[in-house]
């Protein structure tokens, strides 16, 4: 459990909150590149870390992310005309470039210099992989670009999606660290989902529902190892990397693509759940792409025209009690992604962690909270850059492996846990 004040410290991510300032140390996913597909396309409303912003792409293809509201009288620039190198407010024609600089105030004389005094808060927006990333921190502290492997492999090897999740970022992220739930919540999907089934490791998940855990730190966060019994007295290890503050990877199964997540706060009660699948050494197959686009694996089906999951709280997640009874879906909810989000949303907008009864197998979650608390207070009190900002911390992979009982995964798998171009991933 957490004390109330620590819960508040870790969950609040607005501009004045300590954790908000910590999130602003990192490059974070802001939009899918597909949302701004071409020059002068329609602008898109974006809310991140409780800031309301507008994203657009100008006539030269440059990306911009700035305050949503016109400096004149507060009109939303979602109504803006994206034309000739800027976004023009339709109310009185004030125009802004991608840096938030006002470049035209039609009602003022051209040489008055008035528009030079008007500048909206704006953040850089860069395309890496399928994602437009932003950095919302102090300009003079901007870190190098992120180097997560899923975003840097060739485009035919990777697939990214996002979905709207109606709960605080942290209770969602903790689901990514806690692998003990897989043997229960996702058990019905291990043998049926096209992006999970058929791996030799699945049998260990299903036959051993009491994994043993080992949690070790690395420079960017934690490795959480879950071990289950394998043949001949060996252990089947599934190792989850967590890179601060909110990146996790699911240990791989067979030659299926690797996958993982970010959870990015929209505000204190909602977040974007970003999900990716990629293969380090080959293109995703047609079968895999079809499954990904159909919402299998860690992705989902949507309400058409939105990033809202089709199964959501307004329709009770399309709960199927018959399927629950029959064991097809352990919770009665169909897709792996929604199996997680439904339970995480049910905890409430910000879960009250003073009521928890944690057990030792929650040690990954316990350690992650400790590391977050340490990092956020070190930044607040001493200006220390938190782990996970350095791109070296991003070059990691998840691993699944069978090891003899006396071997520590941290040593034996040290190289397997590092991402490297062209290197096959380690999987069972």
């Amino acid at each position: 459990m957490l004390r109330k004040e620590v819960n508040e410290l870790l969950t609040q991510t607005g501009p004045d909150a300590a954790m908000g300032k910590m999130f602003r140390q990192y490059w974070i996913p802001a939009l899918l590149a597909e949302e701004l597909p071409e020059e002068d396309c329609p602008p898109v409303r974006v809310k991140l870390l409780s800031e309301r912003l507008i994203a657009f792409r100008d006539s030269d293809g440059k990306y911009g992310l700035m305050d949503e509201f016109c400096a004149h009288r507060g009109v939303s620039l979602w109504f803006g005309r994206n034309e000739e190198g800027g976004l023009r407010c339709p109310y009185h024609g004030w125009k802004y470039d991608t840096t938030g600089q006002c470049i035209d105030v039609p009602s003022e004389p051209a040489d008055s210099g008035f528009c030079e005094k008007i500048k909206l808060q704006a953040y850089p927006l860069v395309k890496i992989g399928d994602i437009l990333w932003t950095y919302m921190g102090p300009k003079d502290n901007q870190p190098p670009y992120p180097e997560f492997e899923f975003a840097t492999v060739p485009s035919n090897q990777t697939f990214t999606s996002k979905r709207f999740q109606e709960c605080n970022w942290m209770q969602a992220m903790e689901g990514g660290i806690d692998s003990s739930h897989v043997s229960f919540l996702h058990s019905g999907s291990l043998n049926t989902d096209p992006l999970f089934k058929g791996a030799r490791g699945n049998q260990y998940n299903l036959s051993d529902k009491m994994p043993f855990f080992e949690v070790v730190k690395h420079d960017g966060g934690l490795y959480v190892g879950a071990r289950r019994n394998a043949e001949d007295g060996n252990y089947y290890w599934r190792i989850t990397p967590w890179v601060m503050p909110c990146f996790t990877m699911v240990p791989p199964r067979g030659d299926h693509p690797l996958h993982g997540h970010f959870w990015i706060p929209i505000d204190d009660e909602t977040c974007w759940a970003w999900s990716f699948d990629y293969h380090p050494t080959r293109a995703l197959s047609d079968v895999e792409m079809e499954a990904l686009e159909a919402g299998h694996g860690v992705h989902c089906e949507y309400v058409p025209g939105t990033y809202i999951p089709k199964a959501n709280k307004t329709n009770d997640y399309l709960m199927d009690r018959q399927a629950q009874r029959e064991g097809r879906y352990y919770s009665g909810v169909k897709s792996i992604a929604i199996q997680d989000s439904s339970l995480q949303e049910s905890m409430g907008p910000i879960v009250d962690r003073t009521k928890e009864n944690l057990v030792s197998t929650d040690n990954g979650v316990i350690m992650a909270r400790q590391m977050l608390k340490k990092a956020v207070t070190a930044l607040r009190d001493k200006g220390v850059t938190p782990p996970g900002v350095d791109p070296a911390h991003h070059r990691t992979r998840s691993v699944s492996v069978v090891l003899p009982p006396e071997q520590a995964f941290e040593d034996v798998c040290a190289e397997d846990l590092k991402a490297a171009t062209g290197k096959p991933h380690t999987s069972v």
Partner: protein, 172 residues
């Protein structure tokens, strides 16, 4: 018509969570596996807990003369409380729900096997915390190898605060 899930998951509804305790206390036994842990066990015992008991394993070779009536079998251990009182592991486990073993990096932690076997035999939950304050991978490996087979969850921490926070998190 609004779904029941929408109604049930608003911030307003969250205020109606029942405020009475939702669990009975668990009895936690925190064991320093080697004599070098005794000081830390004493320090921890001085903080506020939900009934956690802190003990240190008394090494067999250097054990003081047992208190009157205190003898242990080969599969048992003598433990010492911060106030000096001696007890048997078997007696302590009789009233324990969770065993948390503590060791420092580099320690041989032989007692882990006795504690682990005794706890598993009683279907008790076990966890291990290894404090790694040195930068010596080989030394750490010695201790991890000794503790790993006997705990369901093993954590390597870099400071004693992490240990006390872990105990707090599980309501020790």
């Amino acid at each position: 018509m609004t779904s029941q899930t929408v109604r049930a998951t608003t911030a307003a509804e969250s205020r109606y969570r029942i405020n009475t305790p939702n669990s009975k206390g668990r009895s936690t036994l925190v064991l320093g596996l080697e004599a070098s842990s005794a000081d830390l066990m004493c320090e921890m015992a001085g903080l506020e807990w939900n009934g956690a008991r802190f003990r240190t394993v008394v090494p067999a070779a250097g054990a003081r003369k047992p208190a009157k009536g205190l003898s242990v079998d080969a599969d048992d251990l003598v433990l010492q409380a911060p106030d000096g009182e001696l007890s048997r592991l078997s007696d302590e486990l009789a009233s324990t729900d969770v065993v948390v073993m503590f060791a420092r990096s580099g320690e041989v932690a032989q007692a882990a096997s006795v504690v682990g076997d005794a706890a598993f035999g009683r279907h008790l939950m076990t966890a291990g915390f290894v404090l790694d304050e040195q930068d010596d991978r080989q030394a750490l490996e010695v201790t991890l190898a000794a503790v790993r087979p006997f705990v369901i969850s093993l954590v390597v921490g870099s400071d004693a605060d992490a240990f006390s926070e872990t105990l707090y998190a599980i309501r020790a």
